[in-house]
Amino acid sequence: METGTIILIVVALYLAISLLTGIIPSLRISSSVKGYVAGDRSMNVFILYFVIGASIFSSFAFLGGPGWAYSRGAAAFYIIAYGVIGIVPLYFFGPRAWRLGKKYGYVTQAELLADRFDSKFMSVMLALLSVVVFIPYLTLQMVGAGYVLNVISEGLIPFWAGAGVTYIVVLIYVYFSGVMGVGWSNAFQGMFMMVMAWVLGIYLPNALYGGIGEMFTAIMEAGHTAMLQAPGLAADGEPWNWWGFSSAVLISAVGFSVWPHFFMRSFAAKSARSLRLSVVLYPTFLIFLVPILLIGFSAIVAFPGVEQADSILPHVLMQLELPAIVIGLFCAGALAASMSSGDAILHSAASISIRDGVNQVLKTPLADKTERLLIQISVLVIGLVAYLFAVVIDVSIVALLLGSYGGVAQIFPVIFAMFYWKRATKAGALSGLFGGILVNTFFLIFSHLKPIDMHEGMYGLAANLILLIGVSLLTKPDDPARVEKFINSGATRK
């Protein structure tokens, strides 16, 4: 059989299995908003583990990770480093959110915040922020999928068709099954990616150099020792500074647990304990980034001078003349990375825009059935918008996404205050959140005005904290009954 045909068959098989694992759960969940958005609060540890884990294995990890290792060396370790501290707050926030959700029916992050700080305005603004961040994020996942299929098939599959077919599958299972479809398909995709990552990450150093140690020795002998020294290289190839590396790790870690699509999975857990266990197990997923980075390192000496670092993985695979079935499997692995993040983002963007946005500005709240239907329709609309961006992609979308990390991190202080600081007030929370986002955006646009070369999100956080604490202390305390509800959401001691 021809190489192209075999690759196509493998990819088609993968897509069919994804579709099946995504569709089947729709038979079991209730036809309510709670069923669609929070899976009737029924996710067990197995599914939650993959839902939480697969969110880092996006197109960025699969293509960008090796790209960073290839072009910037040790700088890429930051992708692993921030995860282990970034997940920790979810251990504390998650069970609290889960208990409140079970008792009062919350299914999104903004619902919690809007209730604690008595502000529909905050809910609508958070919904807007989420959609602004999620659409480029989703677009990038589609670009990743279309790109990989296009390169590997040597142009056989045009970019628009690759991205289109992949995301029609995602649209179908997200439309019908909601979060449980995301959960089950992520479990399949997650396992698949892990196997592909380890196989390639161990195979490439061995095939090209005879071992991992030999590979790193070869990199040093070729005069690239500086690359392997933390914090690695900056984008321009000069050594990166510690300010840049440290603030990138910190801001990503702070933002990690409060990404709206990530945080809201707390509501889908079966119990507080199963949520905790999935969070605890998360670093085992993180370790799978190690082989991903090894792939990038393996190309430094063997394939120097590849201009577009993000394409290093498909590039290496094409050079090696591997059997068609292996290339097909890799293709499917890259699609799995793209889809397992894309589906979660798509589902959350639709849920949040309707529940936290549209529903809050209406005079009479939507009926449950109508709300669910509207969320499903938004899945289609948001999917289509992101796809349109993907086929007419330009660089500004990447910049928009990178800028969003600092913006999302600004949610952290208000979440922390909601659970642990009684004295936080509505005015304090609103000014902190939006002051932080403004400062972050300002330094993102006018980056040459930064006093120190730190991530703009750090400046946002500083402003955020000053405003949150200062304005809260200057205003009257919020209604104690409402505040206590959130403060007392911890576990009962034996």
């Binding site: 040790a74 370790f77 692993i80 480093a81 921030y82 995860g83 282990v84 501290i85 997940i87 920790v88 251990y91 504390f92 208990r99 071992g211 991992i212 140690g213 030999e214 590979m215 790193f216 020795t217 040093m220 020792t225 392997l228 020294q229 933390a230 914090p231 510690w242 300010w243 590396f245 440290s246 790790v249 910190l250 870690a253 119990s271 507080a272 304990r273 905790r276 266990l277 969070v279 605890v280 670093p283 085992t284 993180l286 370790i287 190690v290 980075l293 642990y420 403060i487 007392n488 911890g490 576990a491 009962t492 001691r493 034996k494």
Partner: protein
């Protein structure tokens, strides 16, 4: 951080609280994966199990974070009601 629901007047010292120690460990790990802690382990050599020191160190910190969370999880399960 989890002590909010203890009965008031609890005589338990903060040093007996697992969450307190956990937070100390996590702060330590945080400082060891950025400046200044990471600077001590930032060089490319020696190779540890084939990995440059800078890489092996990050892997080690990830494993350490995992063990710390696992310990807290076990501690919390002993001391808290399941729900």
């Amino acid at each position: 951080m989890q002590s909010k629901n203890e009965p008031t007047g609890s005589q338990k010292s903060i040093l007996e609280n697992g969450s307190f120690w956990f937070c100390i460990v996590i702060i330590m790990i945080s400082l060891f994966i950025i400046w200044p802690g990471y600077t001590l382990f930032s060089s490319a050599t020696p190779l540890i199990f084939g990995f440059p020191l800078s890489f092996a160190w990050i892997i080690f910190c990830t494993v350490a974070g995992f063990i710390a969370m696992l310990a807290l999880y076990i501690y919390d399960n002993r001391n808290e009601e399941a729900d």
